[in-house]
C-alpha cells in the first residue's frame, strides 16, 4: 500500500532565503509523523505548501500514491488534508456549531440554516473520537484546550484524514496536553494520519511514530522515537551539542531584595487572585514560582511590577516600600521585568529593534538629553546589546515584529538584564521558544543570579523551574502551597502541590485508605 502522503524534493525560495531545500517526507497511514525544528527551520513553510497557501518552486506531492496539484486550501481539503493553525481560526462570538459548519452550512427548506443537523453531526464526531464539547457553547467562552478540539472537529467535519497540527501544545497547560494526546490516539485508532509540528522534544518522544528534523530549510535527519532521546534530538535540531540542564553552582543567597508580606491582589472581575501571600527573594538566588497557569501567578507578577494595584499587604524592594508604586518607580528602584506576554506588554512590534531596546530607559541619559532623543546613543546601545545578547536581526532598524519569537524574547531579555537591576522578575521567559533560545536565556538568568541579583522566575514548565530555581514556591488558587528548597524538591511532590494537595496529607490519605481496606 502506498504511503498516505509523500513529499518529494520540495523546494521553496523567498527573496534572500531558501526556506525549503529539497525536502522529502513520508507519512504512513495511522501514524504520527513529528516534524521537529527550531523557529525558522522551514516547518511552517513546508506545511503551508502542503495546505496550498504557497506554491513550491520545485518538487512533487503524492496523496495515497497519486500526484496531487494543490493550488489552495480548497484543493487540500478535497484531498482530505486539514490543518490546525497555531493561532486558531475561530470566530469567538459564534457557537461551536456555527464555527464548524462555517463555509459548508447545511440548509433546510432551501433557505434556512440547519443548525440542528450540523450539531447532530458534531455530537457524533465528538462521541466517536472522544472530543467532548458542547455544540451550542460560544467559542469565546471556551478555554484554549477546548477551542483546539473545535478546530479538530472542524477538520473531521470536513472529512479530513490527514491532520496537520501546527505547534498544538504551545498554548496548552500540561493537563490539556495530556487530553490532546488522548484525542490523537483515538484519531489514530480510527485510521487518521497526523503530522505533528513542534519543537518540544518530550512530546515528540511520547506521541510520534516517526521523526523528521528540519534545520535551515533542509532535512537534518530522521529518527525513531524508540532509538532517540532528548539530547540526540536537540543536537540534531540545533546542529551542535546542546546543554539541556544549565550548569550552575550552588546559590549563595545574601540579603533579601524583594520582601512580600500578606499580599492580596484582585484578578479580572471581583475575585481575589492572590490571597495574602508572603515570601522573599534574596540576592544571589533564583526563586521559582511553580503552578498550573491561572493560579494567581500572572496577577502576582503584575502587582509586583506595578501594573496591577495591590489590595492589601506590603511589598518591599531593597527595603523600600513599593506596594503602591508605579512601574516607573519600581523600575528605577532596581527591578527588571520580562513580561509573560512579550508581544502584548514587552514590545512595540512596529518599532525597530533599536527603539524597543530603550523602552524603559528612553528618557534617561545617554539615550536622551533633557527631552531630546540621542540617535547615535540609541544606535550604539542597540548595536552593543544585539551583539552581546546574540539577537539575530538583519539590522537594528528592522521592526521587531518581523523577528522570530526567540529573537523577540532576546530583545526583551537584553533590555531587561543589561540594566543594573537588583531584582529580575521573569514570567514565562521561554514560552514558545526553540531549544537554542531557551538554553541561552536560562544561562543569562543564572549569570544574573551569580552577579548578585535576586531572580523571581515564574514558569508553567516544571522542568524549567527544576533546572533553574534554588527555592520553589508552589501556588494553587492564589495561595502558596509550600516553599520547597531545590534539594528536597521532587517532580511528584511538586505535581501534588500544584494540584492543591500536600504530599504528607496525600500519604496520610493513602495510609487511611489502606487501613480502611
Amino acid at each position: 500500500m502506498p504511503p498516505v502522503l509523500e513529499l518529494r524534493g520540495i523546494t521553496k525560495r523567498f527573496p534572500g532565503v531558501l526556506a525549503n531545500d529539497r525536502i522529502d517526507l513520508t507519512l504512513e497511514e495511522g501514524q504520527v509523523l513529528a516534524l521537529l525544528g527550531e523557529n525558522g527551520a522551514g516547518k511552517s513553510t513546508l506545511m503551508n505548501i502542503l495546505y496550498g497557501l504557497y506554491k513550491p518552486d520545485e518538487g512533487e506531492i503524492f496523496v495515497r500514491g497519486k500526484k496531487a496539484d494543490i493550488h489552495g486550501p480548497g484543493d487540500a481539503i478535497a484531498l482530505g488534508i486539514g490543518m490546525v493553525h497555531q493561532h486558531f481560526m475561530l470566530v469567538p462570538v459564534l457557537t461551536v456549531t456555527e464555527n464548524v459548519m462555517l463555509g459548508m452550512e447545511p440548509i433546510k427548506q432551501k433557505l434556512f440554516l440547519d443548525r440542528e443537523a450540523a450539531a447532530r453531526r458534531i455530537r457524533t464526531i465528538s462521541e466517536q473520537y472522544g472530543l467532548d464539547v458542547d455544540p451550542y457553547a460560544l467559542v469565546g467562552d471556551l478555554p484554549v484546550g477546548i477551542q483546539q478540539r473545535v478546530e479538530i472537529i472542524k477538520l473531521l467535519y470536513r472529512q479530513a484524514d490527514i491532520l496537520i497540527l501546527d505547534e498544538p501544545t504551545a498554548v496548552l497547560t500540561p493537563q490539556e496536553v495530556l487530553g490532546l494526546f488522548q484525542v490523537i490516539r483515538s484519531l489514530l485508532a480510527k485510521g487518521k494520519s497526523i503530522i505533528f509540528i513542534t519543537h518540544k522534544l518530550k512530546e515528540v518522544l511520547e506521541i510520534s511514530d516517526n521523526i523528521v528534523v528540519l534545520r535551515g530549510g533542509r532535512v537534518a535527519g530522521t529518527a525513531l522515537p524508540q532509538k532517540s532521546n532528548e539530547r540526540s534530538l536537540a543536537s540534531l535540531m540545533v546542529g551542535r551539542e546542546v546543554i539541556l540542564t544549565v550548569p550552575k553552582e550552588e546559590a549563595q543567597p545574601k540579603e533579601p531584595v524583594l520582601e512580600v508580606e500578606n499580599l492580596r491582589v484582585k484578578g479580572e472581575g471581583a475575585h481575589i487572585a492572590v490571597h495574602d501571600i508572603s515570601f522573599d527573594v534574596r540576592a544571589g538566588e533564583i526563586v521559582g514560582v511553580a503552578g498550573v497557569q491561572g493560579n494567581g501567578q500572572t496577577e502576582l507578577v503584575e502587582s509586583l511590577t506595578g501594573l496591577r494595584p495591590a489590595q492589601s499587604g506590603v511589598v518591599r524592594l531593597l527595603g523600600k516600600d513599593v506596594t503602591h508604586a508605579s512601574p516607573r518607580v519600581i523600575t528605577e528602584a532596581g527591578a527588571a521585568h520580562v513580561p509573560e506576554d512579550r508581544q502584548r506588554d514587552g514590545l512595540v512590534l512596529s518599532y525597530p529593534v533599536a527603539d524597543n531596546l530603550i523602552l524603559n530607559t528612553y528618557y534617561l541619559p545617554p539615550i536622551a538629553q533633557k527631552m531630546l532623543m540621542q540617535e547615535p546613543a540609541i544606535q550604539q546601545n542597540a548595536e552593543r546589546l544585539v551583539a552581546e545578547y546574540d539577537v539575530r536581526t538583519p539590522s537594528v532598524l528592522t521592526p521587531v515584529g518581523s523577528l522570530s519569537g526567540g529573537n523577540q524574547q532576546k530583545v526583551i531579555v537584553a533590555r531587561e538584564l543589561s540594566r543594573m537591576g537588583q531584582l529580575v522578575v521573569a514570567a514565562q521567559p521561554t514560552r514558545g521558544l526553540d531549544v537554542g533560545s531557551i538554553e541561552y536565556i536560562h544561562s543569562q538568568l543564572v549569570r544574573k543570579r551569580d552577579a548578585g541579583a535576586a531572580v523571581l522566575l515564574v514558569s508553567a514548565e516544571l522542568d524549567e523551574i527544576l533546572s533553574l530555581a534554588d527555592r520553589i514556591i508552589v501556588m494553587f488558587e492564589g495561595r502558596i502551597m509550600d516553599i520547597v528548597p531545590i534539594e528536597k524538591a521532587t517532580r511528584e511532590d511538586l505535581g501534588l502541590l500544584m494540584a492543591g494537595v500536600h504530599p504528607d496529607e496525600h500519604s496520610a490519605d493513602a495510609a487511611a485508605v489502606k487501613e480502611a481496606a
Binding site: 523567498f14 527573496p15 534572500g16 532565503v17 526556506a19 523557529n39 525558522g40 522551514g42 511552517s44 513553510t45 503551508n48 497557501l53 504557497y54 530549510g217 511590577t305 501594573l307 508605579s326 512601574p327 516607573r328 523600575t331 528605577e332 521585568h337 513580561p339 502584548r344 506588554d345 514587552g346 514590545l347 512595540v348 512590534l349 512596529s350 518599532y351 527603539d355 523602552l359 524603559n360 528612553y362 528618557y363 536622551a368 527631552m371 531630546l372 532623543m373 539575530r392 536581526t393 538583519p394 539590522s395 532598524l397 521592526p399 518581523s402 523577528l403 522570530s404 519569537g405 529573537n407
Partner: protein, 422 residues
Amino acid sequence: MSEENSTPKTTKDKKPARRFRERWRALLTPLMAIVTALILGAVVIVVTDTSVYEAFEEGFGVGLGRAVEVIATAYGAFFSGAFGNPGRMVNGLRIWIQTGDGRAWTQSLYPITETLRYATPLIFAGLAVALGFRGGLFNIGAEGQYFIAGLTTVFVGYALTGVPWFIHAPLALLAGILGGAVWGVIPGYLKAKTGAHEVINTIMLNYISFRFAEYMLDVGGPMARGDGRPVSPLVQPSARLAQFFPSNADIRFNIGFILALLAAVFVYWLLFKTTIGYEIRTVGQNPRAAKYAGMSVSRTIVLTMALSGGLAGLAASTDILGVIGFMPNAFSSGYGFDAIALALLGNSHPFGVVLASLLFGALQAGARNMQGVARVPLDLTDILQGLIIIFIAAPAIIRALYRIRTAESGEEVVMTRGWGQM
C-alpha cells in the same frame, strides 16, 4: 504566517539605492491614485457635458473631438487656476523688468498663492488629526476645535486695542491655540479617566461648539458686530498677519503659510526626536507596552489631544487673522473633516500631510477657475477628492491597476481602538 521569510540571513544594512527605490515606491501609489482620479474626473466631465452629446449626434469623430476639447479646456483652466498661467507670468516679469511696474507680475502669481492660501488651514488641521493618529486617537473634533479657536482668536483680535502688532498677533494666535487645546483636552481627559471613546465625544463637542458659536455671533449675541449681520467685529489691524503682497488686494497669501510649514517641522521634531514624541507614539502603538515601560498613558492621551486641538485651532487663527479678518457665523469650512482625509493621504506623517494639503489646496483653487472659465461645476473637486481618498484608502486597487509592488511596511498607524481599551 511563516516565520521563515521574515528572518533573512543577511546582516548588512540596506543599500542607499534600495532605500531610494522603496521611497519612490511608497510615493508611487498616491501619485498614481491622483492620476487615476483625474482620468475618472475627465470621464465625469465628458458625460455631464451636453455639448458632447450634441456633437456625437453629428458624428462619432466630431463627438470625440468635442470630448477631448471639453476635457482640455476644463483641465487647462484647472491647472492655470491652481498654478498660474506660464505665459502670463513671463509677460508680467517682462513688464516688471522693462517698466518697473510689478503689478502684472504679481497678478500672474495669484493662482499659485490661492493654492497655498487654501493649503494653509488644511496643513494645520491635517497635522492635528495626524498627530492624534500617531497617539492612537481619532480626533474627529478638529472642526469643533476650529470653531472654539475662531472665537478665542477673534475676541483677542478685536477686543484688545493699543498693543503693537508684534505682541497682538502672537497673542491672538496663542488664544486660538489655547481655545483649540481646551476643546481637545475635554475628550482626551474623558478618554484617559473613564475610557469614553474620543470619536463619540469629539463629534458631540463639535455640535456644542457649532451652537455655541451661533449663540455668540448671531444678531444680538455677545460677540456680534451690532450692525445687523451675524458676524464678529473686525480684528484690529495690529492683530492681522503680515501679507506677502500688501499692494494687491486680490492676493491674500500671508505669513500663515510659513507658520503652517513651521508647525509641520515642529510636529516632525516632536514626534520623532523627543521623548514626548516617543511616548505619544508608544501609547499609540501599544498602550500596554507604554504602561509597562513606565509611561503615564492617561497623561500622554491628554497631552496628545491638547496638541491636536491646538493645531486645529491654528487653522482657524490663521484663517481669521490672515485672510478673513473677522469670524462669520457660518464659519463652517469642513477643514476638520478634510483633515481626516489629509492625515490618511499623508500617512500621518507631518511632511506627507503638507504634500496632501498642497494637493487639496490646488484642487480647490483649480476648481474655482474651472467653474469660471470652463463652466464645470465646483463639485468636481469633491468628486476628485473622494476618488483620491478611495484609491489611497484601498491601495490594492491602484497596485493591481498599475502592477506596483508592495512597499516594505514600517510603523503602521493605529486609527482607533474600541471602547476603553487602553
